[in-house]
Structures are given as structure tokens and as C-alpha cells.
């Protein structure tokens, strides 16, 4: 089965600083999804990457997928308190008539003033 490892497990950054979260897969990724979860709440979709070398940005968040499609990074520029939460990477699996997601352990981000 596919395992996703995220690093770091937790991160505390000062407001305005940049940060990077990594997600490494034990197998080649078909699709890699980034979600954000606030404590005790649902998962909010951020971005999806599928092609090797692909990079996507939304506001101050940039996600990349390496050429071998086994590692992804999420980079936040000039962090703000609103960026605080748990960031999850998920690997998409195609199976039967529907796909499913396998998630990493998550990275807890705190942004201090």
C-alpha cells in the first residue's frame, strides 16, 4: 500500500516568514492533493498536481511535484495567521469505478505574531 510521509510534523513560524512542507511517497504518485484542515473541522482543497515537474500557485501558496512524481512540496510565502492549520497531502488512487485518497500524517502550522 502507498505510504505518505510529511515533514515536518509541526512548524511554528513568525508572521511574514516563508515556510515549506514536504510530502514523500513510497510509490509513484498518480495525483497529489493538498488540503488544509483547521482543528476539528473539514478538509479544504488547496491544489492538485498530476504531472511530473508541475507547479501551481494560489495566492501565497505554491505546490510542486517533482519529476519522478514521488515528492511534493508546499511553500507559503510571507505567512499570515490565516495560514495556521493542519496541512495534509493526499495520494489519489484509481480503483474500480471510483478513486480514493490516502493521506499523510499532516503538518501542523502555527503562525505567531
Amino acid at each position: 500500500s502507498q505510504e505518505l510521509e510529511q515533514s515536518p510534523q509541526s512548524l511554528i513560524v513568525q508572521e511574514g516568514k516563508n515556510l515549506t512542507i514536504n510530502c514523500t511517497s513510497s510509490k509513484t504518485l498518480y495525483g497529489l492533493y493538498w488540503y488544509k484542515q483547521k482543528y476539528g473541522e473539514g478538509l479544504i482543497f488547496l491544489m492538485m498536481l498530476q504531472k511530473g515537474g508541475e507547479e501551481k500557485s494560489h495566492e501565497k501558496i505554491t505546490a510542486k511535484l517533482d519529476e519522478k512524481k514521488q515528492q511534493s512540496s508546499l511553500h507559503i510565502t510571507a505567512s499570515q495567521p490565516s495560514h495556521a492549520g493542519i496541512y495534509l497531502c493526499g495520494a489519489g488512487h484509481l480503483s474500480g469505478t471510483a478513486s480514493k485518497l490516502t493521506f499523510g500524517t499532516g503538518t501542523r502550522l502555527q503562525v505567531t505574531l
Binding site: 498518480y30 495525483g31 492533493y33 488540503y35 476539528g40 473541522e41 473539514g42 478538509l43 479544504i44 482543497f45 492538485m48 498530476q50 495534509l88 493526499g90 489519489g92 484509481l94 480503483s95 474500480g96 469505478t97 471510483a98 478513486s99 480514493k100 485518497l101 490516502t102 493521506f103 499523510g104 500524517t105 499532516g106
Partner: protein, 114 residues
Amino acid sequence: EPEVTQTPSHQVTQMGQEVILRCVPISNHLYFYWYRQILGQKVEFLVSFYNNEISEKSEIFDDQFSVERPDGSNFTLKIRSTKLEDSAMYFCASSPKWGEDTQYFGPGTRLTVL
């Protein structure tokens, strides 16, 4: 913007009781999912559902679990006889099509089994 909704937000039940968790997926979506997250652990896949049938289920999804789409809008997860270890956050998700399309998650139902 359309979103997945779930009710109730929190359910407390006694061990051995039946619970039904309800979800209203995004209206034009065809694929539906249930995931769960035990406190402090990963989000885990339970089951996927398409065309009124289970498409895939995980090892967690044993005979105590069932899913149903009773009408054109609701998608339910039933646990027949709850156990303490069923205590978790349960998330419903939906996606418009098979493959690489994104799954959109609801806010979750926190199930507490006493």
C-alpha cells in the same frame, strides 16, 4: 459556492447502539466517499460509492457499516452496533467524475461512543 454538508455535527451514542450519519453531497457530483479520522491519527478511507453501488471499501468497512443513497440528495453511513473504537470524526466527500478530479469534503460529524 456549492458545498458538502453533514449532519449532525456531533453525535454521542452508547456502545451497541445504531447511528446514522448523513451527508448531502454537491448536487451535480456522481461519486461519494466516507472517510474517518480518529483523534490524532490520519484521515482514512472507508468506502466509495457510485451509481448506487459500493465501488470500493477498506478493511475498516466491515459488516457493521453500510452506506445508502436513499434519495437524490442524501448519502448516509450507518453503523449498526457501535463500539468504543468507532469514536472518530467522519467525513463525507464527493467528486464530479472518476479519476483525477478533486474530492470535496464536508465539515465532518464527530461521533463519540460511550
